[in-house]
């Protein structure tokens, strides 16, 4: 059983977003983090110092580990920002301002 079946979910039509240019499916209402997780992506940031990969940690907007670049805007918290059709999500390197 998956969570959608468990809760008898009938989501609105799926839409696509891109992650580093690759198309992935997202469901309406899902955050960027949830959409990436559902697609098997767990990291979308390289840290400023050592360039180490990071993704979701606290999941509720407290830790800022999940920062990501959405439609050219860096430092968005993926666990809070809803995914929208056509969003271009990119791995954020460092502060995200050097792209």
């Amino acid at each position: 059983m998956n969570p959608l079946e468990l809760t008898d979910a009938r989501p609105g039509p799926a839409f696509t977003v891109t992650f580093d240019g690759r198309e992935i499916d997202a469901l309406p209402g899902q955050t960027v983090a949830a959409a990436l997780w559902a697609a098997g992506v767990t990291s979308w940031r390289g840290t400023r110092g050592a360039g180490r990969p990071r993704g979701v940690f606290c999941g509720i907007g407290v830790c800022f580990d999940c920062l990501v670049t959405v439609n050219g805007r860096p430092n968005q918290r993926a666990c809070l920002v809803p995914a929208r059709p056509g969003d271009a999500i990119r791995t954020q390197d460092g502060t995200g301002h050097d792209d």
Partner: protein, 481 residues
């Protein structure tokens, strides 16, 4: 209606909802402000509406209580006594001679400033999970236990196929159960405490047979139905992987809380959901100058802080679960309503809530002493383990600040190492820095509860809103669904 007093409630979890309903029932206009897109808080976090979940209760318990709260809120919204501002992140609450002003950032991108004026405020901002560092805890695939739960309840997604749930505290059981029910294979529940120690606190626990039954129900479902092995008095010593988690090493603990030699074993997994208890959200209270009691907001019997016009309820005043949050919120709402309408509150009108508050506080004090992190957990923190995730400060730097540079308090360690200076402002590393340096833990003190765009600080793009409009078109905030 215009001369009804106005109460701002920050946080739409169990505490904030109970406060809102209690105050609105007594003729106070309430503006309920919350950063989430829907009411519910952490305990009653709802799947995003676009997901069309018909049976969200499959991921929840105490669903009947939620239905009652939601129906009460809907009634008050329709009557126009309550306005619910969803997607509003409060970054500061300001007190001035004629009342208070709540400053929030609106929308998921948090760019527009909004202010709400009120005569008093209830802080019901809940808490967040504490995670103590260990080698590998920054690897993608390692998430907080509550965070895994939140992504599941809100986004209906699972972090991976095989998870280990680890740490300490009563939250681990519902998290492991939720993940297992939703289709993750839970390879182990690793609890560093010894649940048998609960027996020593049987007096406080016996006062609450319902709570015990709830815990026992979880344990039974988890262990029997989902066949999850429970490793009590064990701890995760390391998370492994290159760019993402592929295994964890766990080990048994001795009676003194040290890792027992020769007991290490590796468990393959792609998710580690880990937590070591909860911490109250105190930043808004701190900006208002409210006195803290340890790491929680200090309140009196009426849930008043020491700052006039400011009440606090729920986990912000100390960790104690949803039922305690409901009781405290109810008392705060009643007390605030009475005082705002010029009456002396009559504690007899909340006897039931006060009784359950007392019992639940006792219950959670007992749980707290049982579910403490292993006494010698810092011995497992290698020098190159990052302590501060934001600023990438390793344990050796924190240790050196004390040993070689003579730092004697958390503030000095922060200045010397930058631990706690990053985005999260020490919310994540605070307890670890305190433990590694032997300094008393202090709540993270931040000037604002959220990063604030400079334009908003400068007063541009500001849009003033003063509580509920007198005749709302349908009583609902346009963002509320």
């Amino acid at each position: 209606m215009t001369d009804r007093p106005r109460l701002a409630v920050i946080g739409a979890g169990p505490a904030g909802l109970a406060a809102t309903l209690a105050a609105a029932a007594e003729g106070v206009r309430v503006t309920l402000v919350d950063s989430a897109p829907q009411a519910g808080g952490q305990f009653y976090r709802q799947p995003a509406s676009g997901l069309g979940a018909r049976r969200p209760q499959a991921l929840h318990h105490q669903w009947r209580t939620w239905r009652r709260l939601r129906a009460g809120l809907d009634r008050q919204l329709t009557a126009g006594h309550v306005t619910h501002l969803t997607d509003h992140h409060v970054w500061c609450v300001e007190r001035h001679p004629v009342g208070i002003t709540v400053h929030a950032l609106r929308g998921p991108l948090q760019e527009d400033g909004v202010t709400v004026d009120a005569d008093a405020v209830v802080l019901a901002t809940g808490g967040y999970e504490k995670v103590l560092p260990f080698p590998g805890w920054t690897l993608p695939g390692v998430v907080t236990a509550g965070g895994a739960q939140a992504m599941l309840k809100g986004g209906l997604v699972l972090p991976g196929r095989t998870a280990v749930v680890a740490g300490t505290g009563p939250l681990l059981l519902p998290v492991a159960t939720g993940l297992a029910a939703a289709g993750t294979r839970v390879a182990a529940l690793v609890e560093s405490a010894d649940p048998k120690a609960l027996v020593r606190h049987s007096r406080a626990l016996a006062a609450l047979p319902v709570k015990l039954a709830e815990g026992a129900g979880y344990a039974a479902r988890l262990l029997l139905r989902h066949r999850v092995p429970l490793l009590a008095r064990h701890t995760v010593v390391e998370a492994h992987g290159d760019d993402r988690l592929d295994a964890v090493t766990v080990a048994a603990l001795d009676a003194g809380g040290r890792v027992r030699p020769g007991t290490r074993r590796r468990i393959a997994c792609d998710t580690l959901a880990v937590g070591h208890g909860m911490l109250p959200h105190t930043d808004l209270a701190a900006t208002l100058g409210c006195r803290l009691d340890g790491v929680a907001v200090e309140v009196d019997d009426e849930q008043r802080t020491d700052v006039p016009g400011v009440w606090a309820a729920g986990e912000a005043t100390g960790i104690g679960g949803a039922d305690l949050a409901l009781a405290e919120g109810h008392i705060a709402g009643r007390s605030a309503a009475a005082r705002l309408t010029g009456r002396r509150p009559d504690a007899r009108t909340w006897t039931g809530a006060a009784r359950s508050r007392a019992a639940l506080r006792g219950f959670f004090a007992a749980l707290d002493s049982v579910y403490a992190p292993p006494a010698h957990w810092t011995e497992q923190v290698t020098d190159d383990t990052l302590v501060c995730r934001c600023e990438e400060v390793p344990a050796c730097a924190v240790r050196a600040a004390v040993r070689e540079l003579g730092a004697g308090d958390v503030r000095t360690v922060k200045l010397l190492t930058r631990a706690g200076m990053g985005w999260c402002q020490g919310r994540m590393c605070g307890p670890a820095v305190a433990a590694l340096t032997g300094c008393p833990p202090t709540p993270a003190r931040t000037p604002f509860a959220r990063p604030v765009p400079l334009g908003v600080l400068a007063g541009q793009g500001r849009d003033t809103q003063t509580g509920p409009p007198d005749n709302p078109p349908d009583g609902k905030d346009p963002h509320d669904d």
